[in-house]
Symmetry: D3
Subunit: 251 residues, 6 copies
């Protein structure tokens, strides 16, 4: 990061490598086996984890579990109301893409054998969208997932000693705005970013997903490197917040 | 109400004619022109009102406005996860029915000429379902609607002096459980009710909708009368809570 | 009913509490286990009852039966042609709502244990629509249902002594037109009704469904009472016509 | 036709070249601009013709009209109930195929310039299906079409002197059953026919459509010739019945 | 054929009874059990045959096999791009109709008992469309089918001695253009044909399907006869090309 | 790359940094404005570019053009037949995701102002799938796009001097298989890759898209770097092949 970047003024006054205020409210949903309401600034996503015994037909008898995710936005999570996908009668490409990303990200830290023939579905419903909804979803879904696994252990659906979660996982967006690489973009930065990247990282600091897109000009190798540095610092911080939340050390 | 009814013990200890704790949080959604998070006990519904200029094609040039509603449940608002209607690719009959009911109920208190050629869409998304989601939706949507009309007046989309809202409107469920007529049924009472009725009433105490259904045995004329009495007492209370909320007299 | 109401002139010259000419033709369909072509004035609905052994998966092994209904309109049952729902690729809200109403109404008079693990599907296809199609459907479907149950008894699918039908059921529309409560509204009255109510009543005179809607001004308790009186007189007459039809005492 | 064929016994006792009893009831539908209930033995099809001013977008400004058709079956027109296509959410191949056939058949006798920029939609709804529903549909739809054209002439939508109909059109099924060519197959013959052919013929005796299908063994040129002879005799008779019906010479 | 017909000049200079250059490339697809890329002039269709053990549920335990077909066009097989049916979310009537025709045509030459409880799906994807795509599909699909049956015999899925194919099958279009009957119409002739006929014929010269349609004026019996003569000469030639291709006598 | 990696034996004998044989056949489709059949080893994709005047409604009057893409697989492009998405009635998530990726990749090298109010749709239909279908699609679609732009210039739809293409673009897959980073994975390597990355790069060597996914274990920063090196060497080679193809220097 150059000195110039350090002087870059962001719309909300944050430093280029600073996260928005992060809040994770565990157990927000009364009915789900696991749940978390996660906030990245104004972005609010309700993540629930639904645990059921059994697996989809194509996995039966394999002795391993399944974890999948569905992402959706409330119609008025955005500035102007969008038509419900249930009304349109079909799921849009963006929704599909994000649901698949969330599912892959969480499967990366699950030991499916330890989970046994059980299924966990993660629902991430965006109540308020201000950029970074997919990375907030992954970060919050991890907390809901941990709760659901704990529930399953208490209820005897998975063995007491089974190490179902191999690591934690969180995600953050980074991007190049007005030529400056920045961390955790709100909507106003997102729409003008030349490059937009979502990075999913384990608690150990390894990559699960790197999805970088040139929205404007193609990006150079050095820019890519800087963005990855920013992302790793952000996900390290998120991993700590997740851990504190799960230990009950945060409100 | 007979003395016997007065002694009837409800699962949550309420009197037969007592509402669950009602909470209405105005302005819960940052982006909508009007919004309210309404709670009837554990039932939580996020109601947003989206105001747009213009009307559907079939109303163009009539000089009158349009108000419509869409109801939906988050997949894990219920005890066991339900498949999203967007995934199924079609809206179920129950969803259609409730969306239409909410729309009709709010149109009953709107002066469409005073609204002018503008459209308000009410979205009622159930975050947690414990019975009475449709009546909570109507009651909360009214508050969101008032906010949206106020917004439109401030922004000059409707005339300062136009009396867009002719009255307030709220709704409550009543039913016969174990032979006893009761007010505001949570899920555990709802599933065992012999008769289930949803009643929509204006602030002046007139009926907008009366929908009574014999789930078990058909109901007698006297039972219907008792249920209507209960409903009118409940909606009177709700109308007062709405008014206090809108005057800012409640937290 | 006031003297003024008695003097009210209806478009077709009927008294306010007078049904349109009712015709029920049993066995109209050659192939169904039960069928009736019912006419309420110009409104014509073909009701068929299809009996099949077995029940939907979620009922298997319970020892009880299932009755459900589907309502539809031919595209040119109405004044201007409507697009087929099969072409649209989805069922509209109104169709869903009416199908569900018909199903609930008939289930209210069926003893599901006596029916055994058998399913009866009632199809109500409107050939000509002049108001009151849902109430004609219920009234006609009951006759088709009786035929199907008799067929099932003859064929040995239900026990000879089983009392499958607990009561009869019929339905009628009532409404307030130009301030006057009237019975059995044809289309021209229906479109201008301030209040529209559909009432489903057993042969014993108890309520199965009461669905009242303020299309214009909300309605008062006294108006509701008058409408219910009208409805009960209408359904009593319909119950008699059903009985005579089933005894073969009507052409 | 051989002597042996003449001795062939059909399930309903008809001669091999004999039509079932044909009944055409004009004006069966109160609301459509043209309508006919047509019966070929037990097969009953309600045909309505809906006239509207204007044409689909791709024809606008060409000065010519449009005629199209939609075919459907009521769910219980058949021996066992079939699922509604509206419920399935899609039109089946058979329905598409028959709708297209009916539309082409009627367009063949319409002078689109004489019709002017107007559209006629023919709906053929099968109330009872006993074989030959597509040919009954075409034959009945022609009568409904004539009525709609007459209506349009009376109402001034087409010029008084315009010769909109160039000829009449009717259709019949023929087939080879147990090696014997027969005319107008009911369901019991249809299912066992080795070859099945539907032939659409103008009043002048020219072909509009010939659709022959080997259901079992392929058919020889001579068999094809015999089937065409049978079909031409059948359609000649149908053309006469249509003419008598339209002149009011039949009940 | 008259002398005048012989002098008729076709856009591509062919004689009225002359096929376009026909090319069949066997085994074009690396993965399918059988495949052929067939070209009728510019028309190119990729036909694949997929063999799977087992049959659809409704055929299970009958000991007989099943053959079905699906036809589709690439979006830019035509002069202007057409919207994909997958994007539209539904299959069009034309696609359904042609898929069904291909399936019926091939089933006509298959001995389902000899095939045993196995299924073959024929996919005919039009890569370039210049008229006659359905007849090219049938002709090419037959070659793919033979390959798949040979594969199944080699792999032991059908008995070595089983005579699965009873005959060969091919198809050609014929039509009346400017009053002259012609064989194998490319797009430019097809759009102006007064009559259009597709004829499916076995190697033995018997008919499987005859589908003639008057696009303009109805056609006379003599015209039909001439068209059938043309079609039989074309399919005889195609049958020879198929046989040579399968014997490896053509490049 | 370590010496160990150099010794890694791939299923097809290639070096770890070696592309499969690449073939691009320009102008394969007779009807499209631009087209290319591209082969990466056994993977074969037909890419067509359809040019139309005008833009989608939301872009009208902006003076800029639009480029979009649709990806699909023939049902038997794969080892076992997959159901057509047109039959399913909906587009799958994977298809959506890839279509969006191709569209974004090509838009990155288009100057939309220079294109003017014109639309180019790229269709990438996979005829044979052996891994890398999305990267082959992007690489081939670029060639089709160039042809369509040249066509539009010749036809006067874009200005002679307009520099519509800012750069070339190609794409390649890289991955970690058995711990070894490799370039251009065929299906057999793809299914066992621990990490799978698709990289889209301009002719100048800058990134348009980087999409890396840990299918098994998360990947380390150094692994990511090695994969990017491999990808850049591959895309440099592809860019040269594209250029030679467009200059007509390759067969």
């Amino acid at each position: 990061m150059t000195a110039a970047d350090q002087n870059h003024t962001r719309p909300d006054g944050r430093a280029v490598d600073e996260l928005r205020p992060i809040t994770i409210t565990r157990g927000w949903s009364r009915q789900a086996e696991g749940s978390a309401l996660i906030e990245f600034g104004n972005t609010r996503v309700l993540c629930t984890a639904s645990f059921t015994e059994g697996v989809p037909r194509w996995l039966k008898g394999e002795g391993t579990g399944w974890v999948t995710a569905e992402y959706a936005m409330l119609p008025r999570a955005t500035d102007s109301r969008s038509t419900r996908e249930s009304i349109k009668g079909k799921i849009g490409g963006r929704t599909h893409e994000i649901s698949r990303l969330i599912g892959r990200s969480l499967r990366a830290v699950i030991d499916m054998d330890a989970l046994g023939e059980n299924t966990i579905v993660l629902d991430c419903d965006v109540l308020d969208a201000d950029g970074g909804t997919r990375t907030a979803s992954i970060t919050g879904a991890y907390v809901a997932l941990v709760e659901a696994v704990e529930w399953a252990r208490r209820e005897g659906h998975v063995k007491r000693e089974a190490k179902v979660l191999k690591d934690s996982v969180s995600a953050i967006s980074v991007g190049i705005v007005d030529g400056v690489p920045v961390l955790d973009l709100p909507y106003v930065e997102d729409v003008k970013a030349e490059t937009d990247m979502n990075v999913v990282v384990t608690g150990s600091g390894d990559f699960v997903e790197v999805q970088g897109t040139a929205e404007g000009a193609p990006f150079r190798r050095e820019e890519l490197d800087t963005l990855l540095d920013l992302a790793l610092s952000g996900t390290a911080e998120l991993a700590q917040i997740q851990a504190e939340t799960l230990r009950g050390e945060r409100a």
